[in-house]
């Protein structure tokens, strides 16, 4: 959704909140200035022309706030209320169960594998797409976006079709005693699939905006390819990169549908945290289930806080609004 950037460039120049530096190809806008401008627009515009009568304003705010409270805040509160419903002792005991510990370990392991691989290949993909011209670029971008729009269940299914007992490579794998499905490699593959777009997608708009001038300058001054990447490109994209890694990690740890299809639910072995939440919930072990769920909810909240901070940093460049 590149509407934002396009609008920003096409709209007639409103108050000069953005300083455009053509040489660097950067749009710099300070968060503070932006906020001040927003406020100025809300206040300074002739007051009766651009707003609604008081009662209507009140109704709209009330509707928005109560809808968000019922549908978003309450479910979150329920998670913590249930987790602590039998006291903090029961909560900690539930988290210390061997099953819970092995699920936490597996989740961390899978997230580490998929985030690091997607980090490397996300940067390479974004680099290839933004700094070079080649045929089939649009197709490549569509391919990268695909996991966003495919049902997680289908993401898991495709790996079952490849590696399952009836799958294309199933018999060969069995003959050679290699376990992919119902084991860590399968879980990691499915997770890599669903988290593939995050890093590349956060970097593409940023790198597009920055162009290739700085890299060309570095190369013409005698820097090698690697030097150029680590000294010029990487510092330019570091906030965007962190942003992508953050979202990628959150999804990797929380993925349920795709992982559930390929994991086989072997207790203590192939259960990630979201899968354990499901199993315990279906066994009516609500405190234990919500205790694990509360860890995942904390992860989500921390992710959101860090994301807000990173977005402010990115405002110095451009904010990826895609997610």
């Amino acid at each position: 959704m590149s509407t934002k950037s396009n609008l920003a460039t096409l709209a007639p120049p409103a108050p000069p909140l953005q300083v455009y530096i053509p040489a660097a190809g950067l749009v710099i806008s300070q968060p503070a200035a932006r906020e001040a401008d927003e406020r100025a627009r809300a206040v300074a515009s002739p007051k009766d022309l651009r707003t609604e009568p008081g009662p209507i304003r009140f109704i709209i705010i009330a509707l928005a706030v109560s809808f968000l409270t019922v549908f978003v805040v309450l479910p979150l509160v329920v998670v913590f209320a249930q987790a602590f419903s039998k006291g903090i002792g029961a909560y900690l005991a539930a988290l210390a169960e061997p099953e819970a510990l092995s699920a936490i370990k597996l989740t961390l392991l899978v997230a580490a594998i998929s985030v690091s691989l997607n980090l490397v290949f996300g940067v390479i993909a974004a680099w290839a797409i933004t700094k070079f011209d080649f045929r089939g670029k649009t197709f490549l971008i569509t391919l990268i976006d695909l996991p966003f729009s495919v049902s997680p269940v289908i993401s898991g299914l495709v790996f079952v079709l490849l590696f399952g007992a009836q799958g294309y490579w199933g018999t060969w794998l069995q003959a050679n005693n290699i376990h992919v499905l119902f084991a860590v490699p399968g879980i990691a593959l499915a997770t890599i699939f669903v988290t593939f777009p995050f890093v590349a997608r956060s970097l593409i708009p940023l790198m597009q905006e920055q162009g290739t001038q700085e890299e060309e300058a570095a190369i013409s001054l005698g820097a090698s390819g690697l030097q150029t990447f680590f000294r010029v490109t990487l510092p330019n994209i570091k906030w965007g990169l962190l942003y992508g890694v953050l979202l990628c990690n959150a999804r990797a740890m929380g993925e349920f549908g795709a992982v559930s299809v390929v994991s086989g639910h072997i207790r203590g072995e192939t259960n990630t945290m979201p899968l354990l939440v499901e199993i315990l919930y279906n066994e009516y072990q609500f405190v234990a289930s919500f205790a694990i769920a509360s860890l995942l909810a904390m992860l989500a909240l921390i992710t959101l806080v860090v994301k807000t901070v990173l977005e402010q940093r990115l405002d110095e460049g451009q904010t990826p609004r895609d997610h």
Binding site: T3, I60, V72, P75, V150, L296
Partner: protein
């Protein structure tokens, strides 16, 4: 470059190709039979029908939320702005158990609703609620930047030319938000159709009544009826391709009509 393509092929292209190859093993008659079996048709009807209804609610409520967040100042505005992203960030399984607990017969919201004679959890209404939950951010986040960047002069012009506020909003502002609104609607719809984790807990999962298509895929897989699972998956995949395509067209439309202002 070559590295990117190789990696993409291994992770995305080959698995997807496998899916289509598997479908080709079915004769058209078999394929048709799977898709038109009563259980499959009902699952698809439930998934697409309820997703459409949920996306409609998201469209209306999303517009109201985005209007409040962008145009008004009220205590806690920034907090609520951040809250909009929670359905994105919360793992789906967590959302699923939380919503089920909330709307179950003894839950905080389920109990009062049960007294009114409305049963939410383990019925299609529950599926609908879960789909509304996961769709909220899409409309809000696609419309928000457009509404922020909307030129204030257009509104002022409309007002000073004698349009009342009602006219200005519905004839001037909303039309320029339409591409963004439709994009948000399509994204929310696509997400709801494919959603699994947050729906299956609250759904009840009764075949033909409250069984969504992604769940039917999982059930067929666990019965080792790979062909059935694949056929349903291909149809859903085609549907999401169509939606991506529509969204891309919408984006292009939005860009071409902009300079006209």
């Amino acid at each position: 470059m070559g590295l990117t393509l190789t990696w993409l092929s291994v992770i995305i292209l080959i698995p997807l190709a496998g899916l289509f190859l598997k479908t080709l093993e079915l004769s058209p008659a078999q394929f048709w039979e799977i898709l038109t079996s009563r259980r499959t048709l009902n699952a698809l009807r439930i998934s697409f029908g309820l997703s459409f209804a949920a996306a409609c609610v998201n469209l209306v409520m999303g517009t109201i939320i985005v209007w409040a967040l962008v145009r008004y100042r009220f205590p806690g505005r920034r907090l609520f702005d951040a809250i909009v992203d929670i359905p994105f960030a919360l793992p789906t399984a967590v959302a699923g158990v939380a919503l089920t607990q909330l709307f179950a017969q003894k839950g905080w919201l389920g109990a009062p609703l049960a007294e009114l004679g409305i049963k939410v959890a383990f019925t299609p209404i529950g599926i609908f609620i879960a789909m509304v939950f996961i769709g909220i951010p899409f409309v809000v986040r696609t419309v928000q930047p457009v509404l922020i960047d909307l030129d204030p002069e257009i509104e002022e012009a409309a007002a000073s030319l004698g349009a009342n506020r009602w006219h200005t909003v519905f004839r001037v502002i909303l039309p320029s938000l339409i591409p963004a609104l439709l994009t948000g609607f399509a994204l929310a719809f696509a997400r709801a159709v494919g959603e699994y984790g947050s729906v299956i807990f609250i759904a009840g999962n009764l075949p033909n009544v409250s069984e969504i298509a992604p769940l039917l895929i999982v059930i067929r897989l666990s019965e080792f009826r790979y062909a059935d699972a694949t056929a349903i998956a291909v149809i859903m995949l085609l549907a999401s391709f169509l939606i991506i395509f529509a969204v891309n067209r919408l984006q292009r439309w939005a860009q071409t009509r902009l300079p006209a202002h």
